[in-house]
Point group: C2
Chain length 176, copies 2
């Protein structure tokens, strides 16, 4: 497959869906907004059988990095008012889905693997979301010491009492 | 832009390049294999001016999550022998670039922002790599406690003495 393509000044990058996640969340409204707020909620990742071999050895890791496509996100915006704030922020300074490239990122607890099926915990993801990559979470690679969280400092305490609403939803027929 | 497209059984997802990173690494050989092994190496992320507004407020964060396209990776494989190991592992249990979707992920230190230019540190990325997304790193969201690193347990100590070689490189003319 050719990934990169130039169309005038625009370069596009094309990936393929490698699986799907099944979760209890069939509607964006009232969903947890981050894995930390979705404690103990389980999901089932179904990787398509043709990629099954690539999952070998993943079960040794307690956590995975999941990359997925926000398939129900509305059109991209450069400024948004995030769920945890009252003022507009640049989209790249937020985790909102209405990004120029609507790619979602979550660190999830891996409960088990059975061939091409992964059971994961702390799921903050909509049912039916397309999966594009899975990586092992490695604290030594992925956890910088002493990080500062900008406008989010002091606001993450509200995680457990803040849920999503429809502000980033698309309006296509069939969307909930 | 329409992101999702169905072609028979295959669903493709098309994103756009939103910028480029400039780094000292013009060849895959001898590169650091993770940010932790690239301490103090600086890079310059140039986000295309049309997305500049989306970077507002990012400078409050000490670290960013960078998603990029491994443009020099060879064809995808489901089993690889990673740089830090002697035996084959499933690709999704590694961070190797020859993934079904060659998306790179690094947590980088953000030194400064000047309009659409970000100066970052601990860069383990090839010069000229296309950028597809930037997210703020938020410890509260992204750092699970007590994680276990599977086959990598006890092996990350070799990070600083292990560098990349050509095993995951493509063989296209012009690739180094």
């Amino acid at each position: 497959m050719r990934y990169l393509k130039k169309i005038g000044k625009l370069t596009t990058i094309t990936y393929k869906q490698i699986g799907i996640i099944h979760t209890p969340f069939t509607s964006l409204e009232n969903m947890p907004i981050q894995p930390g707020a979705a404690k103990s909620i389980e999901g089932k990742i179904e990787i398509y059988p043709e990629y099954s071999k690539g999952l070998q050895d993943l079960e040794g890791f307690s956590h995975i990095i999941l990359l997925y496509h926000f398939h129900q996100a509305g059109p991209s915006r450069l400024k948004v008012t995030p769920f945890l704030d009252q003022q507009e922020r640049g989209i790249f300074a937020t985790r909102a889905p209405v990004r120029p490239n609507p790619i979602g990122f979550s660190v999830l607890e891996l409960v088990s693997r059975e061939e091409n099926i992964l059971i994961v915990k702390n799921v903050d993801i909509l049912d039916g979301t397309p999966i594009i990559d899975i990586k092992p979470y490695v604290e030594k690679f992925d956890h910088p010491l002493g990080s500062k969280a900008g406008w989010l400092e002091g606001k993450t305490g509200k995680l457990n009492t803040t849920t999503a609403d429809s502000r980033f939803r698309n309006n296509l027929p069939g969307s909930k």
